[in-house]
């Protein structure tokens, strides 16, 4: 069972996982591993104070891309459930932006798939961030930070 949510208003990722489990995993005892990632808005980026952020997207393509990212992960790992949520609209510091949650029988698949889905989302899903700085200036975020440590 997979679910994709686009939230135009603030959402609570932990409540969302709880609701998903209560709705879809009730009585199931076959999942041993849940790997989850939550991305949250920081109030600081590239040396500047960020007051708020506008998150634009391409609605018709977003849903298609997120479903396709999940389908790709399912080809690579034995996944039982994927929950993928993303915020759009006007975002304040400490607001959750993205939630990726993956259920599998074993932890290797859950960890690998959660991270890969997050990287794929960063590279393929049509979302754009515009930062409104405390200084009054606005700027589009040009590119994402790397998803892996440089070592």
């Amino acid at each position: 069972m997979n679910k994709v949510n686009i939230h135009p208003a603030p959402f609570n990722p932990w409540r969302e996982i709880t609701d998903f489990q209560e709705t879809n995993l009730q009585g199931l005892c076959n999942y041993g591993a849940t790997a989850t990632f939550v991305g949250t808005m920081r109030d600081f980026n590239e040396g500047d104070d960020v007051a708020e952020m506008e998150l634009e997207h391409y609605p018709a393509m977003t849903e298609k891309q997120l479903q396709s990212i999940i389908a790709d992960a399912e080809q690579r790992w034995p996944l039982q459930h994927v929950l993928l949520s993303h915020r759009v609209g006007l975002i304040k510091p400490a607001d959750p932006i993205v939630l990726v949650s993956v259920w599998s029988a074993h932890r290797a698949a859950a960890f690998d798939a959660c991270r890969e889905i997050m990287e794929a989302l960063k590279h393929k899903a049509p979302f754009w961030k515009k930062e409104n700085l405390s200084s009054g200036e606005s700027r589009w975020v040009a590119s994402n930070t790397p998803g892996f440590s440089e070592d």
């Binding site: 997050m118 960063k122 754009w128 961030k129 589009w140 994402n144």
Partner: protein, 78 residues
């Protein structure tokens, strides 16, 4: 007559000062040709991403009447 619906997003939308265009289309054309027809004074940015019917495509991909064509900068979600 059939047409192609064109969409622009984020910084590209602001740069062009419009979120979309509708272009009547008799014969199939590449995405790049359609961009050049609609935006004769702006060359297609090198980093620009292109989607046809919500799937990623290339500048020389073919667009048909009835398709939805989108141009946008590198994505920065997540």
């Amino acid at each position: 007559m059939k047409a192609v619906k064109v969409l622009y997003f984020a910084s590209l939308r602001e740069l062009l000062g419009k979120s979309g265009d509708t272009l009547p289309l008799d014969v199939e054309q590449t995405a790049l040709t359609i961009w050049q027809t609609l935006n004769p004074n702006s060359s297609l940015p090198e980093s620009c991403l292109i989607a046809i019917n919500q799937e990623y495509a290339a500048a020389d991909s073919i667009v048909n009447a009835g398709d939805e064509l989108a141009f946008f900068p590198p994505v920065t979600g997540g």
